[in-house]
Symmetry: C2
Subunit: 139 residues, 2 copies
DNA sequence: CACCTCCTACGATAAGCGTCGTAGTACGGC
DNA sequence: GCCGTACTACGACGCTTATCGTAGGAGGTG
């Protein structure tokens, strides 16, 4: 059941056609992380993943930064282990794609996969989050 | 901290301009339920409410039936008390509006409020749920 | 090689959630 | 007034979750 980065149903946000990437070829050899196959992504799990404030923050950061982001670049008001935990939940729900790059673990949204399964959903959630933030800020 | 059915920021899906409603005037006198004010609805709570399979089912049923629906008309594979619990979670998250009507408690989506706060979100979630159902059915 | 950084795994804890059954209240009909 | 229907409140149970700290591995740098 599922082995590595999506190659089956879609290269996800992967294929890393972005700069910032190393010479390539060796995205970190060994260490490969389990990602759900695109077809195995479940709406309830995605919603659950997005329902947590910490994780929603992460997703918004990832959406804002158009390229891959290291775990440590998304500051959360919780411990390192808890942060790791949240990233894992997001990955296992199929929301993000994680890949080792040197000592860092890079994260990216699986926009393509999510949009294919649930058209427009992610955008609406992000827009809703922005809207709510503005609304609450203007108090 | 909020008192009754929305009248403050918007009559929600209420105002019951639908048939099926009794002569009106006495929608059940006493028993009034607490609903969050529109401005108090939080995205995280809405997502959390929608993330549960049971509750998502309820919301889909409510969206399908364009009018108010009694709790007992949405059959769930769980006990009565659990059903009550789920309806309460939905109400407290601001997703549905509940009103006593005789011995029944009628439920309706707070579409207007949700669309005002999070434009298009509910529709996308419903569409995503439909899409996933078809996708999984066609296995 | 030593060392530092980044991230992980593990165990612990406390809180939350979904589920149930039972007992009970409000309302309408007889 | 009595009874049935519809829903609720409460307490219990077990599972999941969010959080932490500590210990440790993988990989770059010197």
């Amino acid at each position: 059941m599922v082995f590595m980065t999506p190659s089956a149903t879609g290269p996800a946000t992967a294929a890393r056609p972005d700069p910032a990437a190393p010479p390539d070829g060796a995205p970190a050899a060994g260490r490969v992380l389990d990602h759900p196959d695109t077809a195995d992504i479940r709406l309830e799990e995605v919603l659950h993943a997005l329902a947590d404030p910490m994780r929603l923050t992460v997703v918004r950061e990832l959406a804002a930064a158009r390229c891959e982001v290291a775990c440590s670049e998304v500051p959360l008001p919780v411990s390192k282990s808890t942060t790791t935990h949240h990233f894992r939940v997001l990955r296992e729900a199929g929301v993000i794609c994680q890949v080792y790059r040197g000592t860092s673990k890079m994260n990216a949204l699986r926009r393509a996969d999510l949009d294919a399964l649930f058209p427009g959903l992610l955008d609406r959630v992000l827009a809703a989050a922005d809207a709510q933030e503005s609304r609450l800020a203007g108090t």
